[in-house]
């Protein structure tokens, strides 16, 4: 969808609020840490990463820009767990008090660290067909996409770039957002900055994107 989330290349934003801190939760409020913990703890049965992303994208544009990143996550969980019937929105108007918990035990921390390690794994899936494109080939991105979830940003549409690597097949986000796993060949495509931004861009700068085969057409 051509949504507000697709920020790449939009103009009118001010300077980046650069920070240089090294601490583990850089600038986090306590509520943001709770959202991180919830994200690893809530039972996301049947939910996919792309359904989660699409739910965030479906926030009204005015709200999207005014809502902090982890507050967007919280809103997405409220929506997803209302959508699947776990909660109703009026439930959120009468929360019960949370008990005070002390510091977590060493065993509890070890358990989540083990869970994190066990969750590691590639998204690569067996290929059902040979790749349509080869490394080194020039390709063109699609000019028009659909109104569902996908991962081809506006700034990189209808543009010629060169395939610099191929990663086998990965689940197509468009299908994952609808609850279906459809592996498709994934490539890294490198674009000249001048192709994307015009002749004033530095001649030796590039932008690389990971793009699925159906986002590409022969050049």
């Amino acid at each position: 969808m051509d949504g507000i989330h697709d920020l790449g290349g939009m103009e009118g934003f001010g300077p980046v609020a650069a920070t240089f801190e090294q601490n583990p939760f850089p600038g986090f409020a306590d509520w943001e840490k709770r959202v991180v913990g919830l994200s690893y703890t809530l039972p996301l049965d049947g939910m996919t990463i792309d359904w989660f992303r699409h739910v965030v994208e479906l926030m009204a544009p005015r709200d999207y820009l005014q809502t902090a990143y982890f507050d967007k996550w919280c809103a997405a969980y409220v929506v997803m767990f209302t959508d699947n019937g776990t909660f109703t929105l009026p439930d959120f108007g009468r929360p019960s008090a949370l008990a005070d918990t002390g510091a977590p035990s060493g065993e509890a921390v070890a358990a989540v660290l083990a869970q994190d390690r066990a969750s590691a794994g590639s998204y690569e899936r067996p290929a059902g067909s040979p790749p349509a494109f080869a490394v080194g080939q020039t390709v063109r991105t699609r000019a028009h996409m659909h109104s569902g979830h996908h991962r081809l940003p506006r700034y990189a549409r209808d543009a010629e770039g060169r395939i610099i690597s191929h990663h086998g097949c990965h689940p197509l986000p468009d299908a994952s957002a609808r609850g279906t796993e459809t592996p498709e060949h994934l490539y890294t495509v490198r674009f000249d900055a001048r192709t994307l931004w015009g002749p004033d861009a530095p001649p030796n700068d590039h932008v690389a994107l990971d793009l699925w085969e159906s986002y590409l057409v022969p050049a």
Partner: protein, 213 residues
């Protein structure tokens, strides 16, 4: 099961305002307390995750990987070839690093990582992202005017150095391997790791400070 119905999700987003507190502190508290009440989560488990990201999972992991790549050419080769496997040598594999790619800065190239569409980040190797990485300003501008963004971090890239921006549009994640600064000959891994900044591993830092001799 989710309905996977975008219209339904958008409608819930609109209705949410009349029912759910707008203050994120209250909103998150409401979500956690309801999830606890229904037996979906325990606050203790959430505490454990917060502790894991406070004490164990963070940019120190990435810094150690970078330091080893400077000291051990065999490891450097494995890291550049397949970073997702190489970080298993440390037990650093985890969330969002199953398809990790290491990007090596050179005198000719500078790498910069962004996720314009959401804010994807290699959590198990770099921990939680800084607020600027998740900001609309960075997501909008890093692809279009990376040199100006870098200047806001105090980093000037000469014209003859190529800037390579990587937009994390798939589940592949990126970590930048900065160049080892001169004056660090003979340093051990821990001492080297201590000078590797979080920003350098995202690409908004280039020349690492080695501190007072």
């Amino acid at each position: 099961m989710p309905t996977f119905e975008p219209k339904r999700a958008a409608a819930i987003h609109r209705d949410l305002h009349s029912h759910v507190p707008s203050d994120p502190v209250l909103r998150v508290k409401a979500l956690e307390s309801l999830a606890v009440e229904r037996g979906l989560v325990t606050s203790e488990r959430i505490d454990a995750w917060v502790e894991a990201y406070s004490e164990h999972i963070g940019p120190k992991r990435g810094a150690q990987v970078v330091a080893r790549s400077w000291l051990d050419p065999g490891f450097r080769t494995r890291l550049l070839d397949d970073a997702a496997s190489a970080i298993r040598e440390f037990g650093f594999e985890g969330d969002a690093t199953g398809d990790l790619k290491a990007l090596e800065n050179t005198p000719e190239d500078h790498h910069l990582v962004v996720c314009t569409l959401c804010s994807c980040y290699p959590f198990s190797i770099l921990g939680m992202s800084p607020a600027w990485y998740r900001s609309a300003e960075y997501r909008a501008r890093a692809v279009r005017e990376p040199r100006k963004v870098l200047a806001e971090f105090g980093v000037t890239i000469p014209d003859d150095v190529s800037v390579q921006v990587w937009d994390s549009t798939s589940e592949r994640r990126y970590i930048v391997i900065p160049q080892r600064p001169a004056g660090t000959e003979g340093w051990d891994e821990d001492r080297l790791a201590a000078i590797v900044t979080r920003n350098a591993m995202i690409g908004t830092d280039r020349h690492l400070e080695i501190g007072a001799p």
